[in-house]
Every structure is written in C-alpha cells, then in structure tokens.
Amino acid sequence: MGRYLPILARMRRKKGVLIPIEAAILRCAVDLQRRGEPEFHGFFIAKELRDRDEARRLTAHGTLYKALDRLEKAGLVQSRWEDPETAASERRPRRRLYQVTGLGERVATESLRVSPSPRPKPGLEPA
C-alpha cells in the first residue's frame, strides 16, 4: 500500500528512531538524573517538559504515556511501581517510577549532539 500511497510510507515510523517527544523526555530525564533525581513519574516529567519550554502545555496523557511505553520497550528507560506503603502513607495513588538506563543516557547524549535542546531555561545554562 505504501507503494501506492507514498505518504503512508513516510508516516510509518522507523524502528529505533526517536520522535521529538521521546527525545525530549529522554533528555529531560537525563537532566533530572544529573540533578540527583534519578526517578520520575509521568506527571513530573510532563511538568518538567512544560517548564523547560519544550512544550507550551502539559503533554497530553496519550502522547506522554505512549512515548514512555515506547522508550521502555526500546530499553531506554525502565520502570517500577512504587511501594504501596509509601503511596498509602502520603494518601495518594501509587506512582509508576521511571529511570533512564545506561543505553538511554547514551542515546540522549547522542540526540543532544545531533539536535540540541531548543532553549535552556534562564539560570540553567551550563557555566
């Protein structure tokens, strides 16, 4: 079908290629790791992305969790469910905590080299 509808062939995502939201999440997660926060949950990364001005609004649920799912399947992040007791003690639902893997860190560094982040937030520029 792609032969007859070239646009479909172009739209099909290649395996192993990060789309912008995935690259942004990965870069953001690596930054968090360097700032001493190795684990993050979905809403936290959405907020970070918004604050870094990589997105104007909070990333949509579907877009965010599909991207995280794909990153996990690619071995770039790993996840675990938070200890239920921790969540219960804070009277909130359990969080799914993500962490960048070694491979994810390398891929993030590479993606930064190929296409640098849009604009660092004032005060976060490297010295």
Binding site: F43, W81, R95
Partner: protein, 207 residues
C-alpha cells in the same frame, strides 16, 4: 469545566480504550492515569490555579492524547494477539512436524504407483513384465494407503497410526540412491515413533 468532571471523563476514556486488552496492561495504564490525575490536581491546588482552568487543562490533555491512546491500544492488542497465537502455534509445530515428511513419502508412494501403472515407468527401467508391474503398483498403492490411514487415525489411535506410517515409509528407505525419499522416510518414521510415545491415549466414553 470542573476538574472533577474532566477527571471523570478522562477515567471513562481510559477504561474505554483499554477494554479487551491484556488485564495487567490495562490495570497498569488505568493506575498510571489515576496517579497523573491526582498529581495534576495536587499541583493545581498548590499553585492556586483556577479550578476551571485546571479542568480545561485535564480535558485538553485527554482529548489531545486520544489519537496516541488509540495507536497505543492497537499495538497492545496486536501484541496480546500474537502472544496468544504463538504458544498454540509452537505446540502445533511440535506435535505435527512429522506430518510433512509422512505426507511427502505418501505422495512419493502414489507417484511410484502411478509410474508402475502407466508407461512412464519405462523411463525407470523397471521389469517390463505386466504381472510384476501390477504387483509393484499394488504394493506402492498399499504403502500409500497405509500412510493415509495412519495420518487419518493419528488422533484417535496413535499407536496404530504410528505403525501404519512406519509400514508405509519403510519401502522409501530402500531407494537409497534417490537420497531425498529415504531421508523423508527416516523423518516420517522418527516422527511416527515420537507420536506413538508422546500422544495422549484416547479417552474412552464412560459406560
């Protein structure tokens, strides 16, 4: 839009698009969105955001993510289907691989039967006498019938089926100069023995 209403819409949507996929995957996605909604609400309260603005934000996040949700669902359903299919397929291959060489040997027997029966056998330099031809022809037909009967009985009477397939395949071993038929015959015999030793005994109807 009240944040409670937007959250309820989001929850309903998650429950809708995660229907009929793997239960663990569904529960995980529902729990993750629940956590996200809770965190969003807490952030709104802490930041003192207008609740109706926050409700709009939640609704917008839900609506804007719908295409990605549907794409994710499609992938999750496909993975679940393929994992469900893979196990029975492996089992089927393990139980039935030997049918392929057995059928090929059976076809080879039929081919020799026809070759003996028609004038084509002349190319094979067989005994030209009619009586011998007919006897050989009948023998090959019998071997082919043995294999066919063995294949037909393999589920109901595995022991008898194995013996029939072995009987039908042994003559192919004699034609060593043809290489492929004897190899297929060996495979069919090994498979038939495997079937005889591993197939479950047929259950008898209670009296």
């Amino acid at each position: 839009v009240r944040i409670e209403l937007a959250s309820a819409v989001t929850r309903s949507w998650v429950r809708l698009y995660t229907r009929r996929i793997d239960a663990d995957v569904r529960a995980s996605r529902i729990a993750e969105i629940e956590s996200d909604l809770w965190e969003h609400r807490r952030e709104t309260e802490e930041a003192g955001t207008d609740p109706s603005d926050a409700g709009l934000q939640v609704l917008a996040r839900c609506l804007a993510g719908m295409p990605a949700d549907l794409a994710w669902r499609s992938g999750a359903a496909r993975r679940a289907r393929s994992s469900r299919r893979r196990e029975p397929m492996n089992d089927l291959i393990r139980r039935s691989w030997w049918l392929v060489p057995a059928v090929l040997v059976g076809l080879f027997d039929v081919m020799l039967f026809l070759a003996q029966l028609t004038h084509f056998f002349g190319l094979m330099e067989f005994e030209p006498r009619v009586g011998t031809r007919l006897a050989a022809s009948a023998a090959w037909l019998l071997f082919a019938v043995c294999i066919a009967a063995g294949l037909a009985l393999r589920d109901r009477r595995p022991q008898r089926a194995g013996v029939l397939v072995i009987v039908g395949s042994v003559p192919a071993l004699l034609l060593v100069w043809m290489v492929v038929p004897p190899l297929l015959g060996v495979a069919a015999i090994v498979g038939a023995i495997y079937h005889m030793t591993t197939a479950p005994s047929p259950t008898r109807a209670p009296a």
